[in-house]
Symmetry: C2
Subunit: 589 residues, 2 copies
């Protein structure tokens, strides 16, 4: 055991002091600046080879970022160009602050879904303000070094949340997929309800195109399997088509819609329609807005966004950290740094009317597969989006919504985490309950409520288990009275105080004139509630003419008891183990 | 180690199943009925001697219950007779459901303070409905067997809360004590603000009587010291006067006010004034009401009461359980049973226009000191209150408010927990922070916010400490590569997964070609997040040509890992300790 560890175990207050001192120290060091601006680390080593690899990866990602961006803007109920605005600046900002080369920042399905209700009930200004606020919150959390908070979200909760999000996002696409009229619903249960209610309004050609899109996407994915960037030309082509499959299906949709329009002069498919042309103006996010006849000032807008202002950045951070972890190859991901990066991405984004953005799983995977070398890849994705906004918006008019729906639904299939359910079924039913609970709340009440409820349920279970430590009470039979040994191990907290008391009283009820040894040899920490409970038990036990002994309590823990009752210092004994102390007592009595 | 304990450690799912089975079983047994109606236990053994002792104690308590009841009604801003209504039924109901003979149910200063704002802003109907709702919530919690919840409130939080409540209650009495005009304030900071603002409106005679009341109370308390129920007649008289001191000072106040009125035909003191005469009608609590011109239906009223509907019963349960614990003499207090008892007391009370009630510390102490034998003592307190309501209300007109203020302020002195602050300063600064934080929030924002914030802060600290288990990593230097041993002990939870990963990666960075032994000999539990993190570390470490071994993992824990990665089953080894496994490896390599 090193010195540091002894220190950790006993000097609690000292530790706190040291922690504060250290955190002040580290905040201001050169090492920290390097950590907070990772570009300083990699830029000096940058060269032409890396640049070419980054350009290829960035453009490949862009080919997915454009159709996905448009699709997610539609998910959020926004005009399609918002999806492109949202992809504009992420890469440029992440270039400076990003710690994981593969992560691609932009709009995601989950954030779009979480923004959708404000857009539906109010206006696009709320989506932009949500991005700004999410940025501020994420940045503030980063500055306060709150990265550790994401450690309190367990895999069962994360995977329940992602699965539910995938189901909900796919559910919300049913409307576009079947070309229904009416609403699409704010959470899954509502989407299903609307779907069933409006099923009679379904078009013929929308679902046909939707299903075709899904089939093509699955086919193109299969085509690329086993091919790589360094294979022969044929395989390279297959590999690239497979990576760009999202762009491919959208282009097929556009061509189809355009041909239909030109040849039949009708629009049998529901199309995306007019897209605002050109780059957005660089201007502050809307701090006040008018919806209908009502004017909302900043305070009103924040009130409308409500607790979402906290949950949305949390979800954004979570997505980004989870993705970074998946692609960091086991290297430690600094969640605090991701918070700072996301904070700036969202704040800057809100100046070009972006909706909330975070790391995207699909695009990050493509980035990784395309062999990106540094966060610089994001710049080229950004340039491609700028190009699209400047030149292609009239083409985007023809994107069929059913193509986008098919694209989104296909992407969602891979987000559903089936294996975890089987795995938890065989290994931990408790965690399975947590996952299912998270999914259920997400689907029936809303995504943000689901993740928060899941986190709280799991923390509550942890607290409950801390309150019920296993106490291996041993009873040693002797001629002149029994000896009860209660070993307290590890850390015993206030919530376990009553449990310890109950166990002691119960075991002492069966015997009279016995000696009770509370073995603190492996007790590292207890708090004043536990100490106070132990002291109060002494009185009761002594009434039953039991004798109580405290074995091998550390000086700190002994002091904690003696402060409460200074008369009992003779009850604290030291021995190599409980048996030795019993021998001693036997001789004395 | 008994069979039960092995069971506890490994078969987690089995345990859950067994727990559910047991709880269903115990809910329906004869033993449970006895536990839930404690009167069945003691009534058959009841006799004349016990009856006489209960009558004496009951009447002694009544002499305090009447002035305190009136005082707390005034604290709540209610008409004084409400204090008596609130004391009416508690004793009769607790007779059946109460598990602790000493506990006396009635209005208390804390609950009165928590009710005050509704009475001030709306009407007395809200206080009665609050009692009804508190009863329903407490009863529901009892039926759901949620007694364990109070174990999550540590002594630092409880004592911070009680101290803050005492300060606030005393602060709110400054108005009556000095005979000021204006408001008294909803929390301490506000009370002080109003006091300073209105100090110029102070009367002369009110503070004089107030101070005199305090002096007399302290004097009478001293008089009774060292005297008991079984001493000589003189000492008995001193003892009884001391116990009935609250009644004595109020009677002195009444006589003084009456003499002043008759002799000078003026009222220089602020008096309690008209009191509704006679017993209240037995009728359902007000499920709708009118305040000013506005009619509130049940839903509106519940909305007005808001989160208080949950916090108020929690505080009531807490007070009652804390008192029961203090007087149970170390015997286990069944918090669930107290919830049921309080539930019925409040529900029944709300039918006679009671405000929320719970166990009162002062009256319980008097009950104990008067030698009460069974909960039957409460009946006689009830009868005395009925008598007072029928005959004495015209006398109560003359009670000076300053007498009541003096009485309350004196009672609050003993509620402030000074010693705990010194104690925590020397033993645990962390817990001191919690206490001070609780006090600060209670005084500056409100009592209910304070206790909830305190509970959350402490739970958060516990969670954080669970997320940072101390890991005693050992490095054994060898000729052919170092061996790093990481023992995982006790229960390792999801929130510690990242910490374990960081520690492992850090320690393996310094050495290459090393063997890392994760020693699970003392590992009782880990969840799937930890398992999954361990599995992902393997990949990274193997890249650094490190070899990883899992030592003595229990079959359940091994299974949890193998489900994630079936290929690594050869990495699980069994040995008596880490040194043995190192020897083995050394021979093989």
């Amino acid at each position: 055991m090193s010195t540091k560890n002894i220190f950790e175990e006993y000097g609690e207050d000292n530790r706190i002091r040291k922690t504060i001192k250290n955190s002040v120290k580290t905040t201001c060091s050169a090492k920290t600046i390097k950590k907070r601006l990772p570009i300083i680390e990699w830029l000096p080593k940058y060269n032409g080879t890396l640049l070419i690899q980054d350009i290829i990866a960035g453009i490949t990602v862009g080919l997915t970022a454009i159709p996905q961006g448009i699709a997610y803007a539609v998910v959020a109920g926004l005009s399609p160009e918002y999806g492109l605005y949202s992809g504009l600046l992420g890469g440029f900002v992440y270039l400076f602050f990003g710690s994981c080369k593969d992560v691609t920042i932009g709009p995601t399905a989950i954030l779009a879904t979480m923004t959708a209700k404000y857009v539906a009930d109010y206006s696009s200004d709320f989506a932009v303000l949500a991005a700004f606020l999410a940025g501020i919150v994420a940045l503030a959390m980063g500055i306060l070094n709150l990265g550790f908070l994401v450690e309190f979200i367990s895999i069962p909760v994360i995977s329940g949340f992602t699965t539910a999000a995938a189901i909900q996002i796919a559910g919300a696409q049913l409307k576009a997929f079947f070309g229904l009229s009416g609403e699409s619903g704010k959470y899954f249960a509502e989407s299903v309800y609307h779907f069933i209610r409006n099923i009679k309004t379904a078009n013929l050609w929308d679902p046909v195109l939707g299903f075709a899109t899904i089939v093509i996407l699955i086919f193109l994915k299969k085509v690329g399997e086993g091919c790589g960037r360094n294979d022969c030309l044929m395989k390279q082509l297959r590999w690239f088509t497979s990576l760009a499959r999202n762009a491919v299906v959208v282009i097929i949709g556009i061509v189809l819609a355009y041909v239909l329009k030109v040849t039949t002069d009708s629009e049998p498919l529901v199309l995306v329609g007019d897209i605002g042309k050109g780059l957005p103006k660089f201007q502050p996010p809307p701090f006040n807005t008018t919806v209908g006849n009502k004017t909302y000032n900043f305070g009103d807008m924040v009130q409308v966004l409500g607790p979402q202002s906290i949950v949305l950045p949390l979800v954004a951070i979570l997505e980004s950290v989870a993705i970074a972890k998946a692609f960091a190859g086991g290297v430690h991901v600094d969640a605090t740094q991701e918070m700072i990066a996301l904070g700036f991405c969202n704040i800057m984004g809100s100046f070009v009317r972006s909706m909330p953005v975070t790391g995207s799983f699909t695009r990050t995977a493509i980035n990784h597969a395309s062999g990106v070398q540094t966060p610089a890849g994001g710049i080229f994705t950004g340039f491609l989006i700028i190009l699209a906004l400047s030149l292609l918006t009239s083409t985007f008019y023809y994107i069929p919504k059913a193509s986008l729906a098919g694209l989104i639904i296909t992407a969602m299939f891979s987000m559903i985490d089936y294996p975890i359910l089987c795995r938890l079924w065989t290994t931990s039913k408790r965690e399975l309950v947590i996952t299912i609970f998270t999914i259920a709340i997400c689907l029936c009440v809303g995504l943000e409520y689901g993740i928060v409820s899941g986190i709280i349920l799991e923390a509550a279970m942890l607290l409950y288990s801390t309150a019920r430590p296993s106490l291996n009470i041993e009873t040693v039979r002797r001629v002149n009275g029994d000896v009860i040994i209660l070993p307290l191990t590890g850390k015993v907290y206030y919530c376990a105080a009553e449990h310890v008391r109950r166990a002691l009283l119960q075991s002492s009820q069966t015997v009279l004139d016995s000696i009770i040894v509370i073995d603190g040899s492996n007790l590292k920490h207890m708090d004043s509630t536990v100490a106070s409970n132990l002291m109060s038990i002494i009185k009761v036990l002594e009434k039953n003419s039991c004798q109580i002994l405290f074995l091998n309590f550390s000086p700190d823990l002994k002091k904690m008891c003696l402060v409460l009752n200074p008369k009992i210092s003779d009850k604290f004994v030291v021995a190599s183990n409980a048996v030795e102390i019993i021998d001693k007592i036997s001789k004395n009595v």
